[in-house]
Amino acid sequence: MENIGEKLPKFPSPENIEEKKKESAEKGKEESVENPPESPEGVEEKKEEGVEKGSLYLKKKKEGFLKKIQHLESPLAERIAGGLVSLPFLVAGMKLLSEIQNEIENLSTYPPSLSFGNILLKEGMLAGASTGSVMLIVFGAAVVKLSFDSVRAQEARKKDDEKKLKLEKLDE
């Protein structure tokens, strides 16, 4: 099995991060006299590499997936993210994954406190995945959890707004 773990960035411990921050702050002071900081153009170039590339990749993927599934959705299906994401498919996918998470958490082999990502990680480890693969699985699970939280927060805000609106109408 491909061991991409060796190629993945190594993460410093929290202590090392603090030390490195102090070192770089001191180094920055020394260097600022001899070497001027990176030019705005240089910063922009770097930003274009990372942010733009990431954004373009995500947009292309969303467009591609939408093309593949749009023939399966009803003509009235609601779209979000600039029309590139089918909301019914997204919500159905999230519900499916949430249900699986709940069922797995009920098994005695998994402590109930384990999050979705940890479950996938454990599954990956049991399946004998390499360190790199496991890291990618956890990263994926973590970002999916982030999206879950974001969509849930949006739903909660929407419900709150609807509730407020109803109360206002009753007051009138």
Binding site: L8, K47, V51, S55, I69, A92, L96, S115, L121, G124
Partner: protein, 101 residues
């Protein structure tokens, strides 16, 4: 294998944040793209499942989609597909942003 379960996913993600900030991301951009990436992973996962067993007709609601998926796929199939798609998309995205890994 010496893998350890991360204590929580938020701390795990914070470790990635430093790498992204070094590439010119702001914290807001980092969080926004990660949320979008989560959506892309879910869409990739659904697309893979529906490619394997294409439905005969259009879905009218999210309940219909959910019911179709639950009827046609085992938990094992769902977990495996989620794992492989999540890994594939995450790797592609990280390579696009951080370079070859």
């Amino acid at each position: 294998m010496a893998n350890k379960l991360p204590e929580d996913l938020d701390n795990f993600i914070k470790k990635f944040q430093d790498l992204f900030l070094a590439k010119g991301f702001t914290e807001k951009e980092f969080k926004k793209q990660l949320e979008e990436l989560g959506v892309v992973i879910i869409m990739a996962f659904l697309n893979k499942l529906l490619e394997q067993k294409p439905p005969a007709q259009k879905f009218a609601s999210e309940e219909e989609i959910l019911s179709y998926l639950k009827k046609n796929f085992s938990q094992e199939e769902i977990k495996e597909t989620m794992q492989s798609e999540s890994k594939k998309i995450s790797k592609e995205y990280l390579e696009n942003v951080l370079g070859k890994i």
